[in-house]
């Protein structure tokens, strides 16, 4: 009896992860996941054929730019939009949310269950994408890249990228889950969040902290010096120490999820009547 809540959450995860993984509506998320893998594979193949070669340092710099420019600003951002905003919005569109609302499950647990299901999917997709992309980008270096990964800063960098990827999924996931509770068209909250995130460098210190990118940027392992015009893809933020960045982002995500839970408790089944 005392594990009822656990059974309920695992029940929701069990139903949701399959739906989310196999969602036809989310085919483009897979494209966003595979794009950097494909790009880095091509980079590796081109370099192997001797058309152009970089040093290990250059490859790690290229990946840093790719990670910040693509993964954080596009891939994970829009991927999480596709995955998390669908958790409630998708059920509304398919008129199946009432099955959940009619159970004796606390709505707060429903939010947690759905969030965890989305998080599992997002982590599997984007952690794999980031790890494979990182491995592929320097693969053409052969032994030097292996040495960089095993005994150099490579392993540490990869761990940091994976940590930032996970935190990005948590942060953007929470934001888009709550957006999906209220707004039918996910592009509207996505545009608002994106503008907010890119305004971050210009915001007052307190407002900067109500942002996902503020915490993530501080945790990326390689600091970039990006020349124009690519610098527009990189958000400059005041650095936050890791001890603040990780719990800070988790606190922001928890607050957003708490708001989602309160909203879910008050939610009604409308289905657009």
């Amino acid at each position: 009896m005392k594990r009822v809540w656990l059974r309920q959450i695992t029940g929701v995860i069990g139903l949701e992860w399959k739906k989310t993984f196999l969602s036809r509506r989310g085919w483009w998320v897979y494209l966003m996941v595979l794009a950097p893998v494909g790009l880095n594979l091509m980079h590796s193949l081109v370099a192997l054929r001797g058309f152009r070669s970089h040093s290990v340092f250059q490859d790690s710099q290229i990946f840093a730019g790719e990670f910040e420019g693509y993964f954080l600003h596009l891939g994970i951002f829009f991927g999480c939009m596709g995955i998390f905003s669908n958790l409630f919005r998708g059920e509304m569109l398919e008129k199946t949310l009432h099955y959940y609302f009619l159970t004796p499950m606390r709505r707060e647990l429903l939010v947690i269950g759905k969030f965890l299901a989305g998080l599992i999917v997002a982590l599997v997709l984007f952690e794999s994408s980031a790890a494979i992309s990182f491995w592929l980008i320097g693969r053409h270096q052969g032994a030097a890249w292996s040495e960089f990964l095993q005994h150099g800063p490579g392993a540490g960098q990869m761990s940091s990228y994976l940590l930032v990827t996970a935190l990005a999924c948590v942060g953007y996931g929470a934001v888009f889950l709550v957006a999906g509770l209220f707004i039918r068209n996910p592009m509207i909250p996505a545009a608002v969040v994106m503008v907010w995130e890119n305004l971050n460098p210009f915001l007052p210190s307190l407002l900067k902290k109500i942002s996902v990118i503020f915490y993530l940027k501080s945790l990326t392992p390689v600091q970039l010096n990006v020349p124009p015009p690519f610098s527009v893809l990189v958000t400059e933020t005041d650095p936050a120490p890791a001890w603040l960045a990780v719990p800070g982002l988790l606190v922001v995500a928890s607050l957003v999820l708490a708001y989602a839970a309160i909203s879910a408790r008050r939610a009604e089944i409308g289905y657009g009547e």
């Binding site: 309920q8 959940y100 159970t103 499950m105």
Partner: protein, 314 residues
């Protein structure tokens, strides 16, 4: 006693400017209660309110003493078969029932047993491992019913549950309703199939334009409709003589000889007076009366008197 009732106290629900239901007062006892009314009369709104899927704009609702906005308390009490013919994607019938029992917090063994029982109850055991998406309309309706009853709720709310069922399945489903109602559960049904509503209902609630027009046992409701003369069919061996006597009475509005010549269809404003008089005529004339039965105390007639139109499928 109120803990055995579903009560609505001055309940109104508006969708923006649009009226869902207005100032509804109800106390629904156990048994089969049918919600009858044209499209847009407020039947689904009433059901969604009592299941907690929407909240009232004004007023108070209690479901066996529980507020519908407390899903943790209401969930075990209630099962709802909604009108929406939609299901979570990619599930078989078995997985559909099992998953939502799991979300109710039941353990594996309990989920399994209840899933099998519910599937057997609606005769879907053989189709259990087939995807719900491949089910026929009738099977989808039955799997929704199974989902509504799988956790053995005290209240079953069914929005148009007979839609899409073939006559055999319809008869079996009605039998189920009667069984549940007989066990002292609340079975709340909305249906357009009025002659079946008539057959199964312990009480009816007639709705029109968001208002409760009448409620109670159908005969009681009919007798309250004073402005419509009662129709009574009398089968006897001397219909002409009976008609002649009846025409002398003030309360008789119309007396029509039955097409087969063996009875009269009477319209009277005072049924009690008529019954007393019929006794006298029989004693005086020795007329043989085969049967006397009200001809318009069914849901369809009451629906036409109170709401108008054809009512529904009869």
């Amino acid at each position: 006693m109120s803990n055995r009732l579903i009560t609505f106290g001055e309940v109104s629900r508006f969708y923006g400017e649009v009226l869902g239901i207005n100032r509804v007062n109800l106390a629904i006892p156990p048994g089969i209660t049918s919600l009858v009314g044209p499209n847009g009369s407020g039947k689904t709104t009433l059901m969604n309110l009592m299941t907690g899927l929407i909240r009232p704009t004004r007023g108070d609702i209690r479901v066996l003493g529980v507020r519908p906005d407390e899903p943790e308390k209401l969930g075990p009490l209630i099962g709802y078969c909604a009108q929406f013919d939609n299901f979570p994607k990619g599930l078989t019938g078995y997985q559909f029932l099992y998953s939502f029992l799991r979300i109710r917090g039941m353990n594996d063994a309990e989920c399994e047993e209840r899933t099998r029982t519910a599937l057997a109850t609606v005769n879907l055991a053989e189709a259990a491992q087939r995807p719900v998406a491949a089910y026929s309309k009738g099977m989808r309706q039955r799997i929704k019913l199974a989902q509504a009853i799988a956790h053995d709720p005290q209240i079953v709310v069914l929005d148009e549950p007979l839609n899409g069922l073939d006559p055999m399945a319809r008869a079996e489903t009605i039998e189920l309703f009667q069984e549940w109602g007989g066990k002292g559960r609340h079975v709340i049904v909305s249906s357009h199939i009025l002659h079946e509503v008539d057959r199964i209902s312990d009480q009816v609630i007639l709705l029109s334009h968001g208002y409760v027009v009448a409620e109670g046992q159908i005969q009681g409701v009919r007798s309250e409709v004073k402005d419509q003369p009662m129709q009574i069919l009398i089968r006897c061996d001397q219909p002409n003589a009976l008609a002649a006597r009846l025409f002398l009475q003030d309360h008789v509005v119309e007396a029509k000889i039955h097409p087969d010549g063996k009875g009269i269809l009477l319209r009277t404003t005072d049924a009690d007076q008529f019954y007393l008089m019929l006794n006298r005529i029989v004693l005086e004339t020795g007329m043989e009366v085969e049967s006397v039965a009200p001809a318009d105390d069914d849901v369809n007639s009451v629906y036409q008197y109170l709401i108008g139109g054809e009512g529904g499928t009869t």
